[in-house]
């Protein structure tokens, strides 16, 4: 029984707290369990404490309070070179005076590994760097340097690999291909990857579990699917994709157990929201709906979709993006909502500005958030 729990080498952060000497609190009592072998992303805007958290795990930043454990081993105050943890640094931090092979061999040499040459050869092949082995870091391209940084960490087979914005310095195309590459390598070696990023698409593409961080705290943790379809705070709703947030008043509850729903009055229309998608206990709330879940149909034509219907909305903006069109709809109560529509060619063209449209959505996509939260939180500055 106990052997089972001991064999699992999960990364456990308990009450992890970081306060700098200037009084700034970067991380507030963080509790987090990262399962062994998972690809975990810490997602958040710059300054949210995600890099500080990573550096505390690596031992490069002192912990103010709390503990860091891998399995049952407490590494909170262990020196960085005694932790079974390696880091891929944001700007790679390759040693400029050493060749690629020497950079990669640095870790094994320090640990006194005898057959390090064979390991280097193997990892150079895995990361397709064999031909670059004798070169200096400055002679390589950004993408190659990134792979060296990865190889240099991976060769040590750490229990936890920390990646600090590893793709931040690459251009979009290279970033896309490296995302796939990283995911492939993680699956191949089966190590725990903790990936810090501010890029929500990157986090969603690669990670099994994403923790959204804001101002030193975790706002929500879950699979990319859970986070996107059922955000619990306005920050998550806006930071991960985009959301329409509409004021509503709770008028009652119905049913019980899995079928329990909360009835909300939204500008005269009553909407039923499943209990597990309701994240407030107050009377007022933000009704959230993702822009692509909004369906529109010019007035007078039939709407086949079941769900909530609203009439008399007006198209006040339309941006054609090729695969999709982004509409801005002015609702009867004056609020503007975003609506994304795939250009499947059903309508034979985009809806003209000024057109009156009917709007509908399926109730199961709606979520309810606490009205005390800022509806603009986590939204990109425009």
């Amino acid at each position: 029984m106990s052997s089972v729990s001991e064999s699992r080498r999960d990364l456990r952060l308990s009450g992890l707290h970081k306060r700098y000497s200037n009084g700034f609190t970067a991380v507030k009592s963080l509790d987090l369990v990262i399962p062994q072998g998972s690809f975990f992303a810490l997602l958040g805007p710059s300054g949210c404490g995600k890099t500080t958290t990573l550096r505390m795990v690596a031992g490069l930043e002192e912990v103010t309070a709390g503990s860091i454990k891998i399995g049952d081993q407490d590494i909170t105050s262990e020196k960085p070179f005694r932790r079974p943890v390696n880091t891929v640094f944001q700007n790679y931090a390759l040693f400029p005076h050493l060749t690629i092979a020497e950079n990669i061999e640095f870790g094994p040499k320090r640990r006194g590994v005898k057959e390090s040459a064979a390991q280097v050869k193997e990892i150079l092949e895995l990361t397709e760097l064999t031909e670059q082995a004798g070169k200096k870091p400055a002679q390589l391209s950004g993408g190659q340097q990134q792979r060296v940084a990865l190889a240099r960490a991976l060769i040590n087979r750490p229990e936890v690999l920390l990646l600090d914005e590893p793709l931040g310095a690459l251009d979009l195309k290279l970033r896309r291909s490296m995302q796939g590459e990283l995911k492939r390598i993680q699956e191949e070696v089966g190590l725990t990857f903790v990936h810090v990023t501010h890029d929500q698409e990157e986090a969603m593409t690669m990670a099994d579990t994403v923790a959204v961080m804001n101002q030193g705290e975790i706002e929500q943790l879950g699979s990319p699917y859970e986070l996107y379809t059922n955000p619990q705070t306005t920050f998550v709703a806006n930071f991960l994709g985009r959301s329409n947030l509409i004021k509503g008043t709770v008028i009652g509850r119905e049913g019980s157990g899995a079928d329990a729903v909360v009835k909300v009055d939204m500008h005269g229309t009553v909407i039923s929201i499943k209990q597990d998608r309701v994240h407030t206990v107050s009377k007022e709330g933000w009704i959230g709906i993702r822009p692509e879940k909004l369906l529109i149909q010019p007035e007078g034509t039939s709407l086949a979709d079941p769900g909530n219907h609203f009439s008399s909305a007006v198209v006040v903006g339309a941006s054609y993006l090729g695969v999709s069109t982004e509409y801005v709809l002015k609702m009867p109560w004056g609020q503007e909502l975003m609506c994304f529509e795939q250009n499947r060619g059903v309508r034979g063209g985009i809806v003209e500005l000024g057109t009156k449209v009917d709007v509908s959505w399926r109730q199961e996509y709606v979520f309810l958030l606490d009205s005390s939260q800022d509806a603009q939180a986590g939204r990109e500055e425009e």
């Binding site: 490069l60 960085p80 390696n86 640094f89 005076h97 050493l98 640095f106 870790g107």
Partner: protein, 272 residues
């Protein structure tokens, strides 16, 4: 006309560059040339008379010259070693550690460089006399003075190099299982070494040719610059040019060797 303009336009930079280099190195050429001058039987010591190997074959012929050279080299070596070690340590403290009075310290270290030598020399003399060393001025007092003024130059040189070093490199080394000692010797030191070497060379040449401060604090000890100055009243022996040329060649070799050595060292450290 147009073509001439074109040619100048194309080659202006290189022409100017060469002219500046010639300007900088003409004194060295003259010194090298004069080291082969046969000045015997001539009154004008500053004119090339005839070619001879004599000066190179008997460099210590002038009375007291080689003794003064020995004193200068000894002082320069010791001053360089002490100033480089102290200065390097000070640079690390100034760049890497945040402490109360750090900016004041930075300024205070820089200040001696801006002090006129004659002022520093005379105040040092006053200090030595006040400390009761007035009767024993010589090797030790010269050495103390030289270490003092070399220190600022070492700190400024090493500090620049160290400040340009990405501290993430050391963090990466620690992350890759290098302890503090290994991190310093395999990453920090090889990367800062060119700066330390440059500082040491600078310190050596500053100490070797210092005249003003040395003259004030030397007592009866005679250094090489003092010997040259003294003999200039009567006519400089041609062997001085031999020493000058030799010094120039030696520093060339040291710079080249330093460059090659730094590269090799980096490799060796990594492979150890």
């Amino acid at each position: 006309m147009h073509r001439v303009g074109n040619w100048i336009g194309k080659h202006l930079m290189i022409t100017l560059g060469i002219l500046v280099l010639i300007y900088m190195y003409i004194p060295n050429f003259v010194v090298a040339l004069m080291s082969f001058n046969d000045s015997s039987g001539s009154r004008n010591l500053y004119q090339f008379q005839a070619f001879t190997w004599d000066n190179w074959l008997n460099p210590c012929a002038p009375n007291g010259m080689c003794e003064s050279l020995k004193v200068s080299v000894e002082i320069a070596l010791v001053a360089t070693i002490v100033a480089t070690i102290l200065g390097t340590l000070a640079s690390f403290a100034l760049v890497r550690h945040r402490f109360e009075g750090r900016s004041t310290m930075n300024l205070l270290i820089f200040l001696p460089m801006a002090t006129p030598e004659i002022v520093m020399g005379s105040s040092l003399l006053a200090l030595f006399v006040a400390a009761g060393m007035g009767g024993s001025l010589g090797f030790v007092t010269i050495l103390i003075a030289h270490i003092l003024f070399c220190l600022s130059f070492v700190v400024v040189t090493v500090r620049t190099r160290l400040a340009g070093l990405d501290s993430n490199l050391e963090k990466a080394a620690m992350d890759l299982y290098a302890n503090e000692w290994q991190t310093f010797w395999r990453i920090t030191f090889p990367l800062v070494f060119p700066g330390i070497l440059a500082a040491a060379l600078l310190a050596f040449s500053l100490s070797f040719d210092d005249f003003i401060i040395t003259n004030l604090n030397s007592g009866t000890t005679v250094t090489f610059p003092m010997f040259v100055w003294g003999s200039a009243q009567r006519g400089i022996p041609m062997q001085v040019n031999v020493i000058g040329t030799a010094m120039f060649l030696i520093s060339l070799v040291i710079v080249a060797a330093g460059e090659i050595g730094a590269r090799r060292r980096a490799k060796m450290l990594a492979n150890r």
